[in-house]
Symmetry: C2
Subunit: 117 residues, 2 copies
């Protein structure tokens, strides 16, 4: 099954927007798609995850799994985000053990939501 990594491409992450400069969310999306996407993961840009005060925000979700939302992500975090998404894809319920969870996912959780249904 494919899991979805949503990336807010409108996140300003509390930075002023400079003319002609991509916002932090767009930069994060660019950094993620510039690398090889892990097997079982698809990256989907989204306009606003309504986590504006905690941006840049991303979310991991899939049918039947817990959804996770993380904040304060930057383009420099792209490798860890992809590793974390791969670990999420490798589960059946979305729950990655604490020991196997990447550091930024341990420290910058915004929320998790039980499987929807």
């Amino acid at each position: 099954m494919i899991v979805t990594l949503h990336v807010c491409i409108t996140c300003r992450a509390s930075h002023p927007v400079l003319d002609g400069e991509p916002v932090p969310g767009a930069r994060l999306h660019d950094a993620l798609t510039a690398q090889e996407t892990p097997e079982g993961v698809r990256i989907v840009p989204v306009e606003c995850l309504s986590a504006c005060t905690n941006g840049a925000a991303i979310a991991l979700s899939a049918p039947g799994r817990w959804t996770y939302v993380y904040g304060h992500m930057t383009a420099e975090d792209a490798p860890q985000i992809l590793a974390g998404a791969a670990a999420y894809a490798g589960t059946t319920d979305g729950i990655v053990s604490w020991r196997e969870r990447v550091t930024i996912f341990r420290k910058r959780s915004l929320a998790r939501i039980p499987p929807i249904g």
Copy 2:
């Protein structure tokens, strides 16, 4: 279709825990279930929505709809939460127009996640 209102019953909402006293998340759950549940809504307690620094937290979700997570909820907000859940249940995609959205949902959004699939 039934929508789910998840309520974190372990949320301490940054308050010290007093012996024998229910935590703020449990108090919120009690306040919500003490009132009539709106049609089309079910209230489901959950242990930890991983929004600990922004608790007490709740989430609204249903298959095919946007998921919404709200923070800084208190027992006093129960009537508005139930009104907001009813409005969410009345949509097909989970998106309640800004004008019809209850004030606490406008101001205390933690995140929203696109329909999962």
